[in-house]
């Protein structure tokens, strides 16, 4: 048996269950992990196509998934994104089966032939608001995989904001992780401060919904139903306004200056905003603060308003702006700690990646500046906000560092929610 440190240097494995994608791989991947969509397909077993496959499978995951897709009509019921809002319901068996299949898939890709291999030290990362039963179910899944595939020697689970802080070498900070379905604000002071976490029921998916409404108003109603298209449009045209009123006014006065055309790569489809170029600013503003009256007309016409919802034990706030969410979270921490937390706010997740247009910088800004402006509105001025480097990969990187550094003999502790669950000796 090789030395412990040498073993961990080879066989520490990180897996980040993001709302849209799963990022995974061993420490030997270097800077960048593998990525696959966090989804699974349950084929219709009665279809001729299914019966024609040599090795019929109950669940299809990974990069070959598109090859198994059948009619578009049953996609909504058979193509499942198990962690769309960061949390899986306790009795959502389909979702749990997909998570198990994705985990096996990720581990088996990197399973080495080396005889010295006795399973990975697996570090998984979940949303900070994941309830305890998610940890329990995940450990049950890992135990089965360890027995059947021999790919897991020991496993642990950490909250995503902690992983982000680790990857960014910040031991005292606030991590704002914004994904597809929700946003988590989590203060860190060597440990995640769990009772100060604020969850927001708003993420990239809500900006997609607004973009879809804008596309309908522009006459692209048929395309507005396809999520991947809507997402691409959002990422191309969306802007974060410095001040929404001023930006909209300027864009209405000089729409040519703010106009944009978007052509879908590999197709003949293109859209142009023209006189509606001002709507570009609504997309960004909606993520950070949906309380402006301009959004009321969209709610009136049927777009669902972000609601306060309870998922597991956590209440997700629908309409709270990001500045207030950070304020609320930090103010649950000790007073002495609060200034240090404001001085290091890390923005992580794809929902903070927005285009910068140099010629429009008077009206459009980036996510860290928007956060500073929102907090300034609450009279908090000594703020330093920054984007996480490589936001897509930072959780995975934090997982790998965690797995490498935490002593192997530290057994899982349910009170502290940390340590290793050992499956193989």
């Amino acid at each position: 048996m090789m030395e412990r440190e040498e073993y961990k240097r080879l066989y520490t494995f990180g897996i980040d269950y993001g709302t849209s994608d799963v990022k995974f791989g061993p420490i030997t991947c270097g800077e960048v992990p593998q990525i696959t969509e966090n989804r699974g397909y349950l084929p219709d077993k009665e279809s001729i196509m299914y019966k024609a496959f040599e090795v019929p499978r109950d669940i299809v995951v990974g990069r070959d998934l598109p090859l198994y897709l059948q009619s578009s009509e049953d996609l909504s019921s058979r193509l499942i994104y198990p962690m769309r809002n960061g949390v899986i319901e306790k009795d959502d068996e389909k979702a749990w089966r997909i998570v198990e299949e994705l985990s096996r898939y990720a581990l088996n890709i990197f399973k080495p032939a080396d005889e010295a291999f006795k399973g990975f030290h697996l570090v998984a990362s979940l949303s900070s608001i994941s309830p305890r039963y998610m940890y329990e179910r995940l450990f049950q899944i890992y135990e089965r995989i360890a027995e059947e595939d021999g790919t897991i020697r020991a496993a642990t689970i950490i909250p995503q904001p902690l992983a982000v802080a680790i990857a960014h070498k910040a031991t005292t900070c606030v991590v704002v992780e914004s994904g597809h379905g929700n946003t988590q604000v989590c203060p860190i002071s060597r440990y995640p401060i769990r009772n100060a976490i604020v969850a927001v029921n708003r993420g990239g998916g809500d900006a997609n919904a607004l973009t879809s409404e804008i596309l309908k108003d522009l006459g692209y109603g048929d395309l507005a139903r396809q999520e991947s298209f809507v997402r691409a449009v959002k990422e191309h045209i969306g802007l974060i306004p410095v001040d929404l009123d001023k930006a909209v006014e300027a864009a209405k006065e000089d729409s040519k200056r703010f106009n944009i055309r978007f052509k879908v790569p590999g197709t003949r489809i293109s859209i142009e905003l023209g006189e509606n170029a001002w709507t570009r600013f609504l997309i960004g503003e909606y993520i950070f603060n949906p309380n402006h009256e301009v959004f009321q007309s969209y709610f009136t016409r049927g777009m669902s308003k972000p609601k306060d919802v309870r998922i597991g034990n956590t209440v997700f706030r629908g309409m709270i702006d990001f500045g207030e969410a950070i304020l609320e979270s930090v103010e649950r921490c000790p007073i002495e700690l609060q200034p240090h937390l404001y001085r290091q706010i890390l923005l992580s997740g794809g929902n903070f990646s927005w285009r910068q247009v140099e010629e429009l910088k008077e009206y459009a800004t980036d996510a860290p500046t928007k956060i500073r402006l929102l907090l300034k509105g609450w009279d908090i001025t000594n703020v330093k906000a920054s984007m996480a480097e490589a936001p897509q990969y930072s959780v995975w990187r934090g997982c790998v560092i965690y797995g490498y550094a935490v002593p192997e003999d530290y057994e899982w502790n349910w009170e502290r929610m940390e340590g290793w669950k050992k499956f193989l000796e």
């Binding site: 070498k169 965690y402 490498y404 935490v406 002593p407």
Partner: protein, 188 residues
């Protein structure tokens, strides 16, 4: 009382030592001379010295010689004793009374005594502290050794370690390497 081997007498102010000679003593000239020298030089607490001899022989003594050396002469017979030559007070024989003490010296002595007392307390305190340090050093050394061992398990990666760049200078490596050890430290 006896004073240096001679009988001595005091009147309250002075003490006189007396060498008593008999007729038989004076039969030998050497004994007379020896007795006179003994009375003149005998050390003691007295400040006067006398030679006592019978009247019969006193006429044979030259009184001036006795006066020159400060010796007194007592003559006696069966009926009386007379002081023929008074003895001179000899200041060298008076034991020196302690000189009067200068008050500044007294103060200096008191100050030094206080200083010594403080120093004594300081020494005692230092002794106790050294003892406590000796007791404390061993477990601390053991703790340091344990920490060094733990840190040795998670070496700080160098450029050549082959680990990804995000490991470089990452303070979490040492923070996380202590996970599960903090409670042990508190317990111990």
């Amino acid at each position: 009382m006896d004073d240096g081997g001679l009988p001595s007498y005091s009147n309250g102010e002075h003490r006189a030592a007396v060498k008593i000679l008999s007729l038989e003593d004076l039969e030998d000239r050497n004994i007379l001379l020896q007795s006179l020298l003994e009375a003149a030089s005998k050390p003691g607490s007295h400040d006067k010295a006398y030679v006592a001899m019978p009247k019969l022989l006193a006429s044979a003594i030259d009184g001036r010689i006795l006066e020159d050396v400060g010796l007194g002469l007592l003559i006696y017979d069966e009926r009386s004793i007379e002081e023929a030559i008074p003895a001179r007070i000899n200041p060298r024989r008076i034991q020196a009374a302690p000189p009067p003490v200068d008050p500044s010296v007294t103060r200096e002595i008191q100050f030094l005594k206080a200083e010594i007392s403080v120093l004594r307390e300081t020494v005692e305190k230092l002794k106790r502290e050294i003892s406590l340090l000796r007791e404390g050093v061993k477990p601390r050394l053991e703790e340091k050794v344990r920490e060094a061992r733990i840190e040795a398990n998670v070496p700080s990666p160098s450029q050549s370690s082959g680990l990804p760049s995000f490991f470089q200078d990452n303070p979490w490596l040492s923070v996380l390497s202590q996970r599960g050890r903090e409670e042990e430290k508190i317990a111990s």
